[in-house]
Symmetry: C2
Subunit: 193 residues, 2 copies
């Protein structure tokens, strides 16, 4: 599958072990290389544009002039959106608990932006999934944060962890997108790249 | 969590490694014991009733008189429904490919029925998720069946395998339910058992 990509050395520019696992799931060989990128964005940017914008910024950190012909860079950024607010990674224990209190008992959006970048072509897209949480009680929130320490996770939760098993009623859209990579959409784009 | 169940020895009556993994995800200690059960059902049974009916039958195979006071048995059955037809496990290679051709490019339902059974109480419920598949081409169908041999899977696919990564557009409902156990609904029922 994806023999059309055989001419490329594929680089996933993400430290996230979840994203590495998801790209593996598609069946593509790749290596991992990351660059430090300033992840700021304009405060008046529409919230649904932030994740694709940041994925584009991460891809452009691989300067065209230093990118060899046969390299393809894949970057991604995931944000959790509640109402008009973006939830990033929690600063500390209390911040993590507060984020979970915010998403408890309601539906929020998870947007992953992805950029596929070669010397000739750059393609950015995004996918949105809606996640409904059951009402979480204080005991559940504290148990989860203490046990799973979700400090590297936007919105303070991993859907593939205990909180996802017991707290998520329903997903509308791609489950893997909530984990950090919209694998099906990425596969379709790579097939036609 | 679920300290209310400490008085029970919990038995998961399922050979499925996926279900064992999902029940582990809830954080409950359990052991596995299965009984042979006749999995037939009346041909005029409404298709959405079949999975809960079969889970009930599997639970009742643990006769009340032999079930000790402090035991809780959890059973489950998952079916794939396309239109009015139930897709079971495929008989052979050709049957598996035909099932995938049938679900390609459309939406189907996955119903998991669950029964929680103790000497005093038996509770049966079910959860339905809708799964949308992208159009799969013949090369993808054959590659999947040859590589993943989905002969133990209702509908001939595992959503957590390659075909799920590249072929599933969208799930409405619980993702874990599609894998074989509606963990969130089960957790809520166990909390109040």
């Amino acid at each position: 599958m994806l023999e059309n990509l055989n001419r490329y050395n594929i680089i996933l520019a993400s430290k996230s072990p979840r994203r590495q696992e998801l790209l593996k799931g598609i069946g593509l060989p790749f290596s991992v290389m990351t660059k430090d990128v300033d992840e700021s964005y304009s405060s008046d940017m529409p919230v649904f544009d932030v994740a694709p914008f940041l994925s584009y910024k991460k891809a452009k950190a691989f300067e065209d002039k230093e990118l060899p012909e046969n390299y393809m860079v894949i970057t991604a950024d995931t944000v959790v959106i509640v109402g008009d607010a973006i939830l990033g990674k929690p600063k500390d224990y209390e911040d993590a608990c507060n984020m979970l209190r915010l998403i408890s008992g309601k539906k929020h959006s998870v947007v992953t932006g992805v950029t596929v970048h070669t010397k000739e072509k750059t393609k950015t897209f995004s996918a949105t999934s809606k996640v409904s949480f059951e009402t979480l009680d204080e005991e559940e929130i504290k148990y989860y944060v203490e046990t799973y320490r979700p400090y590297d996770k936007a919105g303070s939760y991993g859907i593939q962890e205990w909180i996802g098993y017991v707290g998520v009623n329903s997903v509308e859209g791609s489950y893997f997108n909530v984990m950090g990579l919209p694998t099906q959409k990425l596969y379709q784009i790579l097939k036609r790249f």
